[in-house]
Amino acid sequence: MLTIFSIAMSVALLLGVEKVRVNAQSSFANTISGTDLIVGARSGSIQLLLYSVFRIGDATNNISFQSYQDIAQQKGVKWTIPISLGDSHRGFRVMGTSRDYFSVYQYGEQRTLEFASGKQFEGVFDAVIGSEVANVLNYAIGDQVIVSHGTGSASFTQHKDKPFVISGILKHTGTPVDRTLHVSLAGIEAMHVNWQGAVKKRKASKALTEANLQPESITAFLVGLDSKIASFKMQRYINEYKSEPLLAIFPGIALHELWNLMSVAEKALLIISMFVVLAALTGMLAVSLAGLNERRREVAILRSVGASHWHIMGLLITETVLLTIAGILLGLALLYSGIWLAQPIIEKNYGLFIPITAPNIRELGMVCVLLTASFIVGLVPAYRAYKNSLADGMSIRS
């Protein structure tokens, strides 16, 4: 009974880790979609991906608005979305962007952003927040937020004179969008007007309009092309851009690279769960070997009624395999009820949705490997029983 349970636990763990891994990977790969190129200042491609999509880390350099506009007007470019980062609000990143963002940006399987309430930003000081920002900070439409300069959660310089008003709250996406506060590029400029040395150049805050708030630089931008075939050509064009060093990356490839970087941890987890399985099998072996002595009599009886050594061995192996099958079934039951219970919690805390799906090929493969292993483990007591029975004959000398 204990054996079945330990097998069950190990199966649940092994398949659980696998399920989390698969879903983490697919949700990871689904962070951004529909975008053909991400363009930023020349740095590492993973770094660019991290700050532009995951809002992790900072750009070393900005790119000029000039270059952005130039590339946006190139033939074959369908759309572009500018991204301007560098400010934060109570630990959440603030992103300046264009209104197109809400209609063009895609994640998952070609899903665009949707509003849970409110609408996109209209005025310079309107802000649209992601679902997690709204949840954690308990914000509603119309609330005022104060953005601080820099990205640390301990805000040192606050743009207190320029509060933003929440105009919209996005639906949950399970991507970094949920943790972002979106404002217009003009909004980003506006809150820096009085703060930077630009006071003299521009008028007072009352006169701030989108027209006179064109930024000089942005952090990165996303590019959608008319045809995917052109993406290599466009990438080369951007990477060889004359007036400043730029880097264009394919989001899919960069995501893959990043995942590979993280896969060490994932492999470690998998190895640990394999060791747990191994421990369970060893436990089963120990139990069945320990019980063997008490079963010598049973073996002798079976031999006396005509059972061959093969019968006896088959019986013991079958027993081990059946125990394992029972363990696997119980493990699957544990796994699925576990997923069912933990699903909302995981989704809420980690933005990872783990669907209840039938085991995939890889998981079935693991189960088959486990069954094979249990067969091999079963050989050991079977062989020992054979040896015992040879020595005992039909009657046990006690």
């Binding site: 049973e298 005509g306 061959s308 039909m394 009657s395």
Partner: protein
């Protein structure tokens, strides 16, 4: 497959030497034993004289280092282990001193066990009673005298005497030619012993089986056609002395 010879000798041992271990002294030394069909033989011998060992040889569980072993017409020295297992399953029913039953099986499952290993005995049982279960119930109710007993129970609640009767029913099912009983009554008290012997003999006579009965207790030897002493069969002790 293997044709039994026509001669009615069921057990024929000639010059059998057997040692449990290669280095150990032989337990059996130039043993000879003949048991004819339908004969009831009482095999007597002191404890440790090699009676049970001899039964292991007759059952084909172990093979002697020397000599001829011919059981129900099969030359065991010529057969493979699997073939000997088959002969044992088909033709021999064993009853041991105690612990005859498999604890996790029901009474009925214990009795019908030989029919799982022998098609011959399964067919015999079906021929007699229509089904293996029917035959088992028939045998059990005869051995229990009063038929009021649930045979679906596990064997753990049975007294030793009842267990021995279940063992007898198992040995008898499917009418094997040879019944071998290794001190089947030595763990029973007097009354149970008498009752068991009476039932066993009734059944053996009914089925026409040959009986090789092993004991060091001579109380019942008058019931048998012949009494053989281990010291006569086995030259081992003469050698030792």
């Amino acid at each position: 497959m293997i044709k039994p010879a026509s001669k009615p000798t069921l057990i024929d041992l000639e010059g059998v030497d057997f040692a449990w271990h290669a280095k150990a002294k032989p337990t059996i030394k130039s043993a000879h034993l003949r048991v004819e069909e339908h004969e009831h033989v009482f095999l007597r011998g002191a404890s440790g004289s090699g009676k049970s060992t001899l039964l292991n040889i007759i059952g084909g569980i172990v093979t002697p280092q020397q000599g001829q072993v011919n059981i129900v017409g099969h030359d065991f020295c010529q057969l493979t282990e699997l073939q000997r297992d088959k002969v044992r399953a088909n033709h021999i029913g064993f009853i041991f001193q105690q612990f005859n039953l498999i604890p996790y099986l029901s009474i009925l499952e214990n009795v019908t066990l030989p029919c799982r290993f022998s098609k011959l005995r399964r067919d015999n049982a079906i021929k007699r009673s229509g089904s293996v279960i029917e035959e088992a119930i028939y045998l059990l109710s005869r051995l229990y005298a009063k038929g009021k007993f649930s045979f679906d129970r596990t064997t753990s609640e049975l007294s030793v005497g009842q267990q021995q009767r279940v063992a007898a029913a198992r040995a008898l099912i499917g009418q094997p030619q040879l019944i071998i009983a290794d001190e089947p009554t030595s763990s029973l008290d007097y009354d149970a012993r008498e009752a068991f012997m009476t039932l066993l003999f009734d059944e053996i006579k009914l089925s026409g089986s040959t009986l090789l009965y092993v004991s060091h207790d001579p109380t019942h030897q008058h019931l048998f056609d012949s009494v053989v002493d281990m010291s006569v069969i086995n030259q081992h002790h003469e050698l030792e002395l």
